[in-house]
Symmetry: C2
Subunit: 175 residues, 2 copies
């Protein structure tokens, strides 16, 4: 499974592609941050993000797109731009018929560090270890995008195992 993780943002939008399956080593494919300038009008910035995400979808052809779920309770000064960028990311994926998964920041932290309250440096350290990198991806938005992709592979895998176990149990039970 190939997952494009997107940490949405208007100024910095993290994008990271990870290949892998549960129970096997995961592989970093590519990671970067799409940047737009705060001196540009917001509609232009959103078009730049749209083009950037479309280019990543074209190049890496992921099976699924995992996007951080934004909450209205987040930092008021940036939450609207983050919500708009996440909407653009969703549309880019949905237009191509790709499944979109949303994971909350605490789900991502819990998946990669074991604690839903882990800080940025812990997430960066674990992403580095899980993907066997020589250094944490910088900036944090890049590491967060990879953490989202990792989370999706692991959570999706867990769900798939539960489904498989239930199906197997169903087959074994008397009809």
């Amino acid at each position: 499974m190939r997952v494009l993780g997107i940490d949405p943002g208007l100024t910095r939008c993290g994008v990271g592609v990870v290949d892998g399956e549960v129970g096997r080593p995961l592989t970093l494919v590519d990671v970067n941050v799409l940047r737009t300038s705060s001196t540009e009008p917001v509609p232009r910035r959103l078009v730049t993000i749209e083009k950037g995400i479309d280019a990543w979808l074209d190049e890496f052809e992921p099976d699924v797109v995992a996007i951080e779920r934004v909450f209205a309770r987040s930092d008021v000064s940036t939450v609207m731009g983050t919500a708009q960028a996440s909407g653009i990311a969703m549309v880019c994926a949905a237009r191509r018929g790709l499944p979109v998964a949303m994971h909350t920041p605490s789900e991502v932290k819990a998946a990669v560090t074991g604690s839903g309250r882990a800080d940025k440096s812990q997430v960066g350290a674990m992403v580095t270890r899980i993907l066997r990198l020589s250094a944490p991806p910088k900036p944090a938005d890049a590491a967060d995008a990879l953490a989202l992709a990792i989370t999706h592979i692991w959570r999706g895998g867990a769900q798939a195992r539960i489904d498989a176990a239930l199906a197997a149990a169903g087959r074994r039970s008397p009809a």
Copy 2:
């Protein structure tokens, strides 16, 4: 000047086209509400809104798109969907190189009713009067979209008059 007003929303997105200039009667061109079902996943709903707005831009070819400015302090349960829908509306316009103007709800209320604290029914009543309609457009999202377009024509016109007056004063002043 032809303005497409958009009152962004995930469940109901008001769209209304108004033709006119300051100081002359304004004309309703068309108004409607784009609807998406809450049973659909959000990415699909955003694609539906994108297609709907693109269809309006194709059909009516506005000179400018006026969108309601969303605030993070609004109703938490709907603000994220509203922000995402507004981002889609911005991108649809900006992709075509159309200017995008944002007006706050109180700017719109003040422009059409004289009071920034007017309620929905006052806005509906004034839209009906300004556009010489036989009844207020329903639902409120449709009236709000028209109020946005009216506001843009009137505010834009005021700014244009100030600019023209300044330019004229400049010409008249000794060089």
